[in-house]
Symmetry: C2
Subunit: 463 residues, 2 copies
């Protein structure tokens, strides 16, 4: 970490646009800015600039005008990084973006590493580590639920919870450590009953947080749904029907259109990733059996398995369908299985009413969109979002889950130690471990440089 440098980077997305923003942060922000910025008038002079003001003028490369720009002024400590910060709004030509960065580099800036602005904000105490991580999650959020969880975490919801737990535990730890100072005298400042109560309470909370990680993972990465079905079962028609459903729900705003990922569909704020697979028909053919192996691999990666078949086949050859379902059921273990009979528009209403396979069968026509709503409810009912709707903290970050898990193990160790009557100094040590793991989440203790590198290295440049 080279905090003494003044850094610069493009903070807006790469490419051409109406405007682009280049951010400078560090001790020399204003001296460097002064050497490249020519104010339009005295009103826009850097010397008189108030914090949170905008200056209009030109960026000069020696005597060449690179662009007419607007510069936002933020003064230490009231800025994103806590340092002096300037945000240059320029015309969004790639050439101009490059030229302005080049001028800044020539005048003493260094190009920022990915996430370095946020890392500086963390080091300056503007946010804790879990909040900093939430900034990256927020930028990457693609669904309502992911956005909601990230913004809550960025605004300190999770941190507050962890901080409180730690504070209560720190009190006990200090009392126990105080006892150690009076080692000879056999005093007991820390009330053991109260401590056990607290440990139990913390265990409950940590367990709940760990449980929420199941939902958190779904929120962050989406629900992988493997679609198993023969090539003519109507998989792509079904995906289109689901996509249309999604499009009908969201306003499509031109100018922000993201690249549509054909098999990712947002349903009620959760991303479902549909994984196409080949069928599973039992066969002696080598090529086909390789296909089945691949299907099984994809099923392994999924959370829900959707078995799609032609309703006509259930009429003409029910045993075949039932056989395939049996093979699937043997394969998927605890995963949820959704059975969907497609193309009910091709059989009579009477037939459609009668077909059954002794299972909760969903009858649809992807073509006419009959039954698609029911399928959607079925899918969403399989995703446990109680934690989301109860407004409780949801852990979405694997690093946090790992630390929580380690603190849980240490909590159990403390309890067991106390039950076994081990001496206070060991108990104090184990409590310190719990505190360390909880502290790692929010970064209040000395966090390993490697961890910081991993966290901030995942950021985009300019944030």
């Amino acid at each position: 970490m080279r905090m003494e440098d003044t850094i610069c980077a493009l903070s807006t997305p790469q490419g051409m646009g109406g405007i682009a923003v280049i951010r400078i942060s560090g001790t020399d922000t204003f001296p460097i800015l002064k050497s490249v910025f020519k104010p339009r008038s005295t009103r826009h002079q850097l010397e008189n600039a108030q914090p949170y003001s905008l200056l209009f003028g030109e960026i000069l490369d020696k005597d060449i005008v690179v662009d007419e720009v607007m510069v936002g002024i933020f003064k230490n400590p009231n800025s994103y990084t806590g340092e002096d910060v300037a945000e240059i709004s320029c015309h969004g030509s790639v050439y101009i973006q490059e030229q302005i960065l080049k001028v800044l580099l020539n005048n003493g800036c260094r190009l920022a590493d990915p996430g370095e602005y946020t890392m500086r904000a963390y080091i300056a105490g503007k946010m804790d580590l879990s909040q900093a991580e939430a900034v990256a999650d927020l930028i990457e959020s693609e669904s309502k639920a992911a956005h909601q969880v990230a913004i809550q975490q960025m605004r300190g919801g999770f941190s507050e919870e962890i901080k409180q737990l730690r504070e209560e535990l720190i009190q006990f730890a200090s009392l126990i450590e105080l006892e150690l100072d009076f080692g000879e005298e056999d005093v007991e400042f820390a009330d053991r009953t109260e401590l056990l109560k607290l440990l139990s309470k913390i265990k409950t909370i940590v367990t709940r947080l760990l449980d929420s990680f199941e939902t958190g993972r779904v929120i962050k990465n989406g629900v992988p749904v493997a679609i198993v079905g023969a090539p003519n079962a109507g998989k792509s028609t079904l995906l289109n029907a689901l996509l249309n459903e999604e499009k009908a729900l969201v306003t499509d705003i031109p100018g922000t259109t993201r690249d549509a990922i054909e098999d990712e569909i947002n349903i009620e704020g959760i991303k479902y990733r549909f994984i196409d697979t080949a069928g599973i028909r039992e066969t002696k053919d080598l090529v086909e059996s390789l296909g089945i192996k691949k299907t099984f691999e994809k099923i392994d990666q999924s959370g829900i398995v959707l078995y799609l078949f032609n309703a006509e086949h259930l009429v003409s050859n029910p045993e075949l369908i039932k056989n395939e379902i049996q093979i699937l059921r043997n394969q998927i273990g605890q995963k949820k299985l959704v059975l969907v009979a497609n193309k009910i528009d091709l059989i009579s209403k009477d037939q459609a009413d009668r077909i059954t396979i002794d299972e909760a069968l969903i009858k649809i026509s992807a073509l006419t969109k009959t039954g698609v709503d029911e399928l959607i409810s079925q899918l969403t009912s399989y995703v446990n979002l109680n934690a989301l709707h109860s407004n409780q903290t949801i852990v979405t970050n694997a690093r946090h889950a790992a630390e929580l898990n380690m603190s849980l193990q240490d909590l159990i160790k403390v309890e067991e130690g106390m039950a076994a009557g081990i001496s206070s100094d060991f108990i104090a040590m184990d409590i310190r471990q719990v505190l360390k793991h909880l502290g790692n989440i929010i970064g209040v203790v000395d966090v390993d440089q490697d961890i910081l590198g991993t966290i901030f290295g995942k950021f985009c440049i300019g944030k």
Copy 2:
């Protein structure tokens, strides 16, 4: 044009980034902002906001926090559009960009049309039409020369020149029209000798501007260079050698990397577009002769033709090479021809010194990069950039060139009419035509709605 609406759009490039900027402009900017913005503290209240200040707070969708944002405040008439403007800096998640736009649309904004901010700036008199067009050129500029010309034009260089010519001419036009009011009395307020002098001066300037369009086109669109050569002549090695030359010249700044277009190379601030063609060997084979036809079509679209051949062939079979050069020469007319013998590393130095074809032959090895510098000088010497280096105005816009051309025709008409002694009212009419065409360039006269639509329709959304 629906100027009474308040418009919003994403102004930064599409996609994910550290931050994104959404711009609002129009009469209701601040009322709409007030309904969605919750200031962090009283210091950041919209009511007390000074022009050119930044407010920190949250964008709310009813009671849901969409994002923590910074908002730049610009008050009518001191803004880009001349209207009340707010620029919302949010986290660069695509989801957040969409949500903020959605909230703004729900609260009374309309999504801006492409270029609508700049069109409003033009209509408010913040810039004239040629300056507005320069904004689009500036955003699209990819080379030093294109950037330099666009920024000069945006800053009013060209407009000033046209305005002065018009003003001088308007004086004469008014005097002549005054004469018409005294029709019976045969007075002559406008000095005919002075008028002829002025017409001649304007003709000279307009002609110079029209001439500059040759350079302007090159600056804006690059120089198309057709590379003619057999498949094994080393075309792609040559392109790589030229590309490396370019890369050595520019600092590569991560975070702004544009998609490399393999056959576009920037040399001394000018873009050269290399067009690959098949060879031109004379043949009776139908397929091959179709190939030659295509080569000739590509030559037609180019400004420079680069004939690349294997130096070994000039040693072994000079007549073949000379024959091909003759075919080319017959085909290309006035275009520049560059003759390049490649692979001189494969023949002895002695042979290399001796090979000749009675032409300015450039001997290179694209592989070892021998002679590539000389080739580059040859290419650049064929591009007339005098106008660029003399710091004179350069016309880059086909619309401007067309208007200049029409005004030139009308200037000639005025001169001819005066020589033929036609009556003053006809002269006045022709002068009005000159004024109209010059005026169309900067948009001081009533510009056709269709023209405005065409000009601003080419902009990106958000500018």
